[in-house]
């Protein structure tokens, strides 16, 4: 067989799978978003009502805007905190040595942990009676000694953010260690000989060199933060009230608990839009490399 035909045949199965498992559901979700779409009402999945699901979300549903707000704050906080803390840790580990190699090995573990399990473990750690972190914060900040973290809207939000940051710091740290290793050593040494302070070396040499890697991890982390579901479901299930209800959780609840497939498909599509921009930005970095 000629290579010219073969090359298309080789990608065909993969294209079929990707189409069936990702593209088709996207298109079908778009169609559903224009229907009445009630799970318990036969025929309503073919009953079209135009843009009504979308206008309903925008105009009639404070809970939708609440989840948009929660997701936005959550994304900004988790991306910012994870990036800053991972950068700090990467700088600590960059010089190498025995500690670094054992640290790097340990940093793999949270990736292997199911996000659902991370949610469970943080619910455990912040239990008001026997939670270790609860006790720790109680000693450190006395006003927090007797609070029930997951019962307070703001504190529950803080716990959800902490669980996310805890789970993602390792991955970002490992990426940034790799990025730091590619900062040319002679430039850094030359600057140090010239009497530049540690901070100036970091600001004027390390940070600009790290720029592209930093951009990649920030985009990637933003995508994962926007999608967050597992931990939230296990940790707070969106509560108390709707204080920690992310968009994914809101869609899940409307679609699966209330059976409003049409409406939740509309909200789901609203969520895809920021993803398209982020993916575009991410793809630019990937292809610049190749």
């Amino acid at each position: 067989m000629r290579d010219n035909t073969l090359k298309y045949l080789l990608v065909l199965p993969a294209v079929v799978v990707v189409f069936a498992t990702a593209i088709w559901p996207l298109i079908e979700a778009a169609r559903l978003s224009f229907t009445v779409g009630r799970l318990n009402r036969p025929g309503s999945l073919e009953q079209y009502l135009g843009w009504e699901n979308y206008t309903w979300a925008f105009l009639e549903e404070p809970a939708f805007w609440n989840s948009v707000w929660v997701t936005a704050v959550y994304t900004i906080l988790t991306v910012g905190l994870t990036t800053i803390m991972a950068l700090g840790l990467a700088l600590l580990l960059a010089p190498g040595g025995r500690l670094r190699s054992s640290a790097q090995t340990l940093l793999i573990l949270p990736f292997a942990m199911s996000p659902a399990l991370i949610g469970v473990s943080f619910r455990f750690m912040f239990n008001p009676e026997f939670g270790l972190f609860d006790a720790f914060f109680g000693v450190l900040i006395p006003p927090l000694a007797d609070v029930s973290w997951l019962a307070d809207p703001n504190l529950a939000f803080a716990v959800v953010v902490m669980a996310d940051v805890w789970g993602w710091i390792p991955f970002l740290t490992l990426v940034l260690i790799g990025g730091l290793a590619s900062v040319p050593r002679d430039t850094v040494e030359a600057a140090q000989v010239d009497g530049a302070s540690g901070w100036r070396v970091f600001r004027d040499i390390t940070l600009p060199q790290l720029g592209p890697v930093l951009a990649v991890v920030i985009i990637l982390k933003s995508i994962f933060s926007l999608k967050t579901f597992d931990q939230v479901f296990m940790l707070t299930n969106g509560g108390p009230g709707t204080a920690t209800q992310t968009l994914s959780h809101y869609i899940y609840f409307n679609g699966m608990k209330y059976g409003q497939i049409g409406y939740s498909a509309a909200v789901a599509w609203l969520m895809v839009i920021p993803m398209i921009f982020l993916t575009y930005a991410y793809a630019k970095f990937v292809f610049r490399k190749n």
């Binding site: 799978v17 979700a29 990649v216």
Partner: protein
């Protein structure tokens, strides 16, 4: 302080900071490991020293929890997903790596993009379809949707490995009269084998830990381990000793697998954006 003392001081601070960071990273994991060996009395106290017991591991496999069934489901679903995904991804990755095609960049971007589509979007139409054709609460259904999250990682990761294999041997074999398919089978596959194994393990971990699809699609027969965690809610709240024992069963095998592929972890997660 003299210059040398100061240097030693900062070195100690540096090491201490790293140790504190490692401690914080490990505490939630260690705490689960400890709780799994505590009795249902000890687990409700903030105890560091206790008499360990193995009874929790027995209980979770017994009625009504029957974690063994979930363990079986998780293993089958993750394994079959990988066994389907890796060969398909390998063929595509080879083609993407060695040939230039019309619309190649477009295809690669779309494959990349599917990874970023929120899982909750993908699952809505699948739920409706599976309900109509009777695939709800089956392992087959779960495997089909799991392919959606695994494929993009597999293709991009394997492409990275094949890109790293020099083309000379292939070209020499072609000159000697081998066909392209023979070249793939006899030369590329053996050389890419470690990479394929790495990608397979990576995808296995992702499929094993998958939560949202299983939550929506299963309720009794095909329930996987992460969903099984929800079982351990008693009348008076969470049964932490049992939750922890189940937690160990979920994460311990993945720790072993993750350590095996730790060098490729970053490359896999970023799909080639960072090497």
């Amino acid at each position: 302080m003299t210059g040398r003392q100061r240097k030693q001081f900062w070195r100690a601070v540096h090491a201490a900071l790293i140790l504190v960071a490692m401690f914080v990273m490990l505490v939630p994991i260690v705490w689960i490991f400890l709780a799994a060996f505590k009795t249902h009395v000890d687990v409700y106290q903030l105890k560091l020293f206790f008499t360990p017991t193995l009874e929790n591991f027995g209980i979770v496999f017994d009625d009504p929890y029957r974690l063994g069934q979930k363990l079986f489901n998780s293993t089958i679903v993750a394994l079959v997903t990988v066994v389907i995904a890796i060969p398909i991804a390998t063929l595509a990755a080879y083609s993407f790596s060695r040939f230039s095609m019309r619309g190649e960049t477009m295809m690669l971007v779309i494959i990349l993009a599917t990874q970023f589509v929120p899982a909750v979007v993908i699952i809505l139409p699948f739920f409706v379809m599976f309900r109509d054709i009777g695939l709800l609460d089956t392992r087959v259904g779960l495997i089909l949707v799991n392919l959606a999250i695994v494929m993009p990682f597999a293709i991009w990761m394997i492409k990275g490995f094949i890109d790293g294999i020099p083309m000379d041997t292939e070209e020499a074999a072609m000159v000697d009269g081998s066909s392209r398919l023979q070249v793939i089978r006899n030369i590329v596959l053996p050389m890419a084998a470690p990479g394929l194994l790495t990608s397979g393990i990576f995808c296995f971990i992702i499929a094993w830990n998958e939560f949202l699809f299983a939550l929506i699609l299963t309720n009794k027969e095909a329930v996987t381990l992460p969903i099984g965690l929800a079982l351990f809610k008693g009348e008076e709240g969470d049964l932490w000793n049992l939750l922890s024992a189940a937690g160990i069963i979920i994460m311990a095998p993945m720790f072993v697998l993750a350590l095996m592929i730790r060098k490729y972890f970053v490359q896999g997660m970023t799909m080639g954006a960072v090497r």
